[in-house]
C-alpha cells in the first residue's frame, strides 16, 4: 500500500508495516517518535511541525533508498505536519529485512538521517502559551533534548 511521506493525520503504524511487509523478509523493525510532556524543564501542550514539502518528500525517499542499498531493507517513513499533542506520534518508520539486524539498522539509519537532513521544523507550544522554533544551528549536543524524538 502507498503511505504519504507527509500527513496531517495521525501516524498509523499498521499502515507503515503493511507498506514494507514482504514474505521473503523475516523481520520488521518499527519506530514511533512521540511528543514528550516536558523537555529542558518546560512543559509542552503540543509540537507544531512544518515542512518544505517537495524537498522533504524527496529527501525521505532518498533515505529509504539509501537504507535499501546499505541494509537490503524496505523502509517506509511518514512524518506528521501540523499540531501533534503530547503523547502522539510525529514520525513513524517501518523497516523490513530478511533478518532482524538489518531491519533494526535500517530503522535506526532512517530516523537518524531524517533528523539531520529532512527539511522539517518543529515549533514548541509551551504550557504557558508561548512558542519557540527549533531552527538554530548547534555545534554541540544540547544539555537537554528538544521536545520531539
Amino acid at each position: 500500500m502507498s503511505v504519504p511521506a507527509l500527513t496531517t493525520l495521525p501516524v498509523r503504524i499498521d499502515d507503515l508495516i503493511a507498506a514494507v511487509a514482504d514474505p521473503e523478509h523475516g523481520g520488521i523493525a518499527t519506530f514511533l517518535g512521540t511528543t514528550r510532556r516536558e523537555a529542558d524543564r518546560r512543559a509542552f501542550r503540543a509540537i507544531e511541525y512544518s515542512a518544505y514539502s517537495p524537498l522533504a518528500q524527496t529527501e525521505m525517499a532518498a533515505i529509504a533508498a539509501e537504507a535499501h542499498r546499505q541494509f537490503g531493507a524496505v523502509v517506509c517513513i511518514q512524518h506528521r505536519i501540523g499540531h501533534v499533542a503530547v503523547g502522539e506520534a510525529s514520525v513513524g518508520i517501518a523497516a523490513s529485512a530478511p533478518h532482524r539486524a538489518a531491519a533494526f539498522a535500517a530503522c535506526r539509519y532512517a530516523i537518524d538521517e531524517l533528523k539531520m537532513r529532512v527539511p522539517i521544523w518543529k515549533r514548541a507550544h509551551f504550557a504557558d502559551g508561548t512558542t519557540a522554533w527549533f531552527d538554530e544551528h548547534r555545534t554541540t549536543q544540547p544539555a537537554h533534548d528538544s521536545p520531539g524524538t
Partner: protein, 91 residues
C-alpha cells in the same frame, strides 16, 4: 570604448522561500528579490527584506533551487525559486 563594453547585464528576479522563524519574521512564505547578474545563492541574504536581514544569516543554512539542493556558490538565474533552509528539527 566599443558599444558593447557598456552593456550591463540585467539583474535577475528570483522568488525566495523561507521557513520556520524566518517565515515568522517575514510574515509571509516567500518574497521576490532582484539580484545583480552573476550573484550566487549565498549573496541573497543582504537582498532580503529588512525584517529578515537585520540579523546575520543563520549558521548551518542550506539552499535549494527549484526544489533541489544546490551549493551556496550556485549562480542565480532569472525566475529561480530558491529556498533558504535553516537547520532542521523534524522527528
Amino acid at each position: 570604448m566599443r558599444a558593447y563594453d557598456r552593456i550591463v547585464p540585467d539583474p535577475v528576479t528570483v522568488t525566495v522561500l523561507v521557513f520556520a522563524s524566518l517565515r515568522d519574521r517575514l510574515g509571509a512564505d516567500e518574497c521576490v528579490v532582484r539580484a545583480p547578474h552573476g550573484a550566487a545563492l549565498s549573496g541573497v541574504w543582504p537582498l532580503l527584506p529588512e525584517q529578515i536581514r537585520r540579523a546575520d544569516a543563520p549558521l548551518g543554512v542550506r539552499y535549494a533551487v527549484n526544489d533541489v539542493w544546490a551549493p551556496a556558490e550556485t549562480p542565480l538565474a532569472n525566475g529561480d525559486r530558491i529556498a533558504i533552509v535553516v537547520p532542521v528539527s523534524g522527528g
